[in-house]
């Protein structure tokens, strides 16, 4: 066989190498060497990013169409890896804790394996590949969620996750079987020709597929696990869940909708339309009265998912670009907030919004960063969030979904309200025993700085979006 096609899989291969090294390091490293585990992990991952940053080869497919490659995928993969790197940095403090420091290796390995799964999922050219990637992304995830296994919340979250995940993937699988039955093949490029509208089997298959992937993106009504799991999981894992897996899933959803289900575009646009509306609204409504920061962010991330889908619904190249851009922007903002939350949690065990009252008095810098991040999530200029929101709106508007855009816009008011609640808590509310000044370790510092730069710079510097667009036409 032709080994050159492995070149398409550059990202995956190098990631596997990284994983292998870490694995071996975990096995053989001495106690002293283990101190530098995080350094090694971060450096390796950084190297991986740099190595894969530039999209080299032209679009193409390998292994008889099982694996697909487009430059856009490199972009999204790099974004995801980049996010993972930040998560690694923020996780360090937590991993150094007594009850987890002996399983750092596991953490890195598991995370990277989910990442690998996502890579495959993104690059898949066949539903088998897609399914494998999906599962590979979600099974280790459950173990990550239950990582603090002696803490009840973590365990409970893990259980909830694995049960619902299995349920959804089972249904997905069932749906795929229908698709297979209807089309006789599961290759992405073959299916469109075989799709005939009004075929109930295909329809059922499609709905099951939406449900399965919707579970990953946590679209209402497939979102219910989200809040609990986000709350229960260790904070770094939560942040990973909220940005990386969501981002990859959305991207995949768009590619598959565009590639595979193109013939039944009207159906899926209607479905996505409805899903967007309820996702944004329900997410906002629930977020309104959350007191636990992580749970709060869970719901906010649900409504954000709705906004991301605005980029999907058009099924256009500009939609793709705005979507990827949105994921990137959303990632930096969310990771910034989670970084702050996690360090505060590590230092003080406090995650309730009431504990954040008067945070500004004691930790101005962290508060300032959080404020900017929240503004970015709320879509307020000059922070990146404004641009990303505007662009997805533009994409949807261009495809003629005016009413939808207006609904989404009105929802931004609610979201602004609850983001401001946090700001209010930190700046305005009085607190008798506020969180004492917190000293941040250098990892957190670096990661937060990167996030800050991202939040401010991504919007102002149009180059980022322009690059993404340039590749989005390669779809």
């Amino acid at each position: 066989m032709d080994y050159s096609q492995f070149l398409y899989m550059k990202e995956e291969v190098s990631l596997i190498v990284v994983m292998a090294i870490l694995f071996l390091y975990d096995l053989i490293a001495s106690e002293k060497a283990r101190k530098y585990f995080s350094v090694v992990a971060c450096v390796l991952l950084g190297a991986h990013i740099i190595y894969n940053l530039i999209p080299t080869s032209t679009p193409g497919s390998a292994f008889g169409g099982m694996y697909y490659y487009t430059p856009m995928m490199t972009i999204i993969k790099s974004i995801l890896t980049f996010g993972t790197l930040i998560v690694f940095m923020q996780a360090d403090l937590w991993l150094k804790r007594e009850d987890t420091k002996f399983k750092q290796g596991e953490f890195y390995f598991l995370i990277l394996s989910t990442l690998l799964g996502m890579f495959f999922m993104i690059a898949s050219g066949h539903f088998l590949m897609f399914f494998l990637g999906l599962e590979m992304a979600s099974i280790p995830m459950s173990t990550l969620i239950a990582f603090d296994k002696y803490r009840h919340n973590s365990a409970e979250a893990g259980a909830k996750y694995i049960l619902t995940a299995m349920f959804s993937s089972a249904l997905l699988l069932f749906g795929l079987s229908f698709l297979y039955g209807a089309c006789g093949t599961l290759y992405f490029e073959d299916i469109p020709a075989l799709l005939t509208s009004g075929n109930y089997m295909q329809l059922a298959a499609f709905v099951f597929f939406i449900a399965g992937i919707g579970f990953k993106i946590s679209i209402v009504p497939f979102h219910l696990w989200t809040a609990d799991v986000y709350q229960g999981a260790p904070t770094p894992v939560t942040s990973y869940l909220s940005v990386i897996s969501k981002g990859s899933a959305v991207f995949v959803l768009l590619t598959i909708l565009m590639k595979v289900f193109a013939p039944m575009v009207t159906e899926w646009q209607n479905i996505i339309y409805g899903l967007i509306v309820i996702t944004i609204t329900i997410g906002n409504l629930f977020a309104l009265r959350q007191k636990n920061m992580k749970r709060f962010l869970a719901f906010s991330s649900i409504s954000q998912a709705g906004y991301i889908l605005l980029g999907v619904i058009g099924g256009t190249a500009i939609g793709m670009a705005s979507l990827v851009y949105y994921v990137l922007v959303y990632m930096v903002a969310n990771l910034a907030i989670f970084g702050v939350i996690s360090i505060i949690e590590q230092r003080t065990e406090k995650v309730s919004m009431d504990d954040y009252n008067g945070l500004y008095k004691t930790n101005p810098k962290l508060t300032f960063l959080t404020t900017l991040a929240l503004f970015s999530l709320a879509g307020i200029p000059p922070f990146a969030g404004f641009f990303s929101k505007f662009f997805v709106f533009m994409a949807a508007f261009k495809s003629g979904f005016i009413v939808l855009v207006v609904i989404a816009l009105l929802n931004t008011i609610i979201s602004l309200y609850y983001y401001l609640l946090v700001v209010k808590a930190m700046y305005i509310n009085k607190n008798d025993n506020p969180i004492e000044p917190i000293k941040t370790d250098c990892y957190t510092k670096i990661s937060l700085t990167i996030c800050l730069i991202g939040i401010i710079g991504l919007g102002i510097a149009s180059i980022v979006y322009e690059t993404i667009t340039a590749f989005s036409y390669g779809m």
């Binding site: 599962e135 459950s142 749970r295």
Partner: protein
């Protein structure tokens, strides 16, 4: 003996699985129900492959992979359930609703 019969069976398995998943309070039982659904899907693959598209193996392979994955998944699930048991001394699914609203 046509494809419909198999489909009926797989559908019954699906419904049974879903029913079990929704009704049984024992987490392990729920796990088993999920297994039922998955197997229903596997059966579908196999059947479609055999009856509708006899001259290819895509479905069979898919089934194999699926079985493998499900096995792994189940293993993890059981591990986690044991972990839960350690925490709450019970397998009752309603016990694990500390986080809500």
């Amino acid at each position: 003996m046509g494809v419909e019969l198999y489909l009926v069976i797989s559908t019954i398995m699906l419904c049974a699985g879903i029913y079990g998943f929704l009704i049984r309070k024992n987490t392990l039982a729920m796990l088993i129900s999920v297994e039922l659904i998955l197997n229903a899907a596997d059966i579908n693959f196999a059947v479609f492959n055999k009856f509708l598209f006899p001259n290819q193996l895509e479905g069979h392979f898919f089934t194999l992979f699926a079985i493998g994955i499900v096995a792994a998944e189940t293993a993890i699930a059981i591990a986690i359930i044991i972990n839960i048991y350690r925490n709450v001394q019970s397998l009752d699914v309603d016990k694990i609703d500390k986080m809500k609203h």
